[in-house]
């Protein structure tokens, strides 16, 4: 059984990750997922590929911390988070967050909070390949 929270180079199976979360309880009635994918454009520039770097150890711990705080602060039953690093093509999957609860409102709130918190607190950086070269993206002020 794969870990619920992890960082990996290879692609993930959305269905497998959801199953991994769903098996936490038969009381789950709602599963909300956020999937981030590689867009072909950013701020008006054409993108031909992405590359993600992370701070090994710290990034994994920040993701685990997000899951633990989500379980504590929202009425959810389980949460899974997977983020890829390395080279990612346009259209490929980058990040998946799965939040499961008895009723839908809790899962929506926790999932939206978790992706916002991931972007704010997790040391992961994106480099975009454009026609004029590679650009590191700074999204958090």
């Amino acid at each position: 059984m794969p870990e619920l929270v992890r960082i990996q180079r290879e692609n993930f199976s959305i269905e497998a990750e959801m199953e991994n979360v769903k098996k936490a309880s038969k009381g789950i009635g709602a599963v909300v997922t956020f999937l981030g994918t590689g867009r072909d454009n950013s701020k008006g520039f054409e993108i031909s590929g992405l590359d993600f770097e992370h701070y090994p150890g710290m990034a994994e711990n920040k993701l685990k911390d997000i899951r633990e705080r989500a379980l504590k602060n929202f009425n959810i039953i389980e949460m899974g988070i997977v983020h890829r690093i390395g080279n990612i093509d346009v259209g490929e999957d980058i990040v998946l967050i799965v939040a499961a609860s008895a009723h839908r409102n809790d899962a929506f709130m926790a999932c939206e909070w978790a992706i916002t918190e991931l972007k704010r607190t997790t040391p992961i950086w994106k480099r975009e390949t454009t026609k004029t070269g590679d650009v590191w993206v700074s999204e958090t002020p």
Binding site: G36, F52, E53, H54, Y55, G57, M58, A59, N61, H83, I94, V95, I115, L118, K119, R120, T121, T122, P123, I124, W125, K126, R127, W136, V137, S138, E139, T140, P141
Partner: protein
């Protein structure tokens, strides 16, 4: 010895992955920044614009954080995961 790791665009700026320093006792974040700016003048603008987080032993540092021998410091530009 302490080790300072550079990530993402900061690696491009410093043209380094990491930098080691020998320190005696403890130093403050401001003292560390001074040492780094001397070795990597390109970091001056980064520190001035505050567009960098500093981690100590993989936790976010704050004003009161003190660095001691053996610590692992991270120089973290704004995140762009997700």
């Amino acid at each position: 010895m302490i080790s300072v790791k550079f990530f993402a665009m900061l690696k491009n700026l410093t043209k380094a992955e990491a930098k080691q320093y020998n320190i005696e006792g403890t130093i403050t974040l401001e003292e560390l920044k001074g040492m780094l700016k001397k070795d990597f003048p390109a970091l001056e603008g980064v520190f001035a614009s505050r567009s960098v987080f500093i981690s100590v032993n993989q936790e976010f540092a704050d004003k009161n954080t003190v660095i001691k021998d053996g610590d692992e410091i991270g120089l973290l530009p704004p995140f762009s995961g997700g």
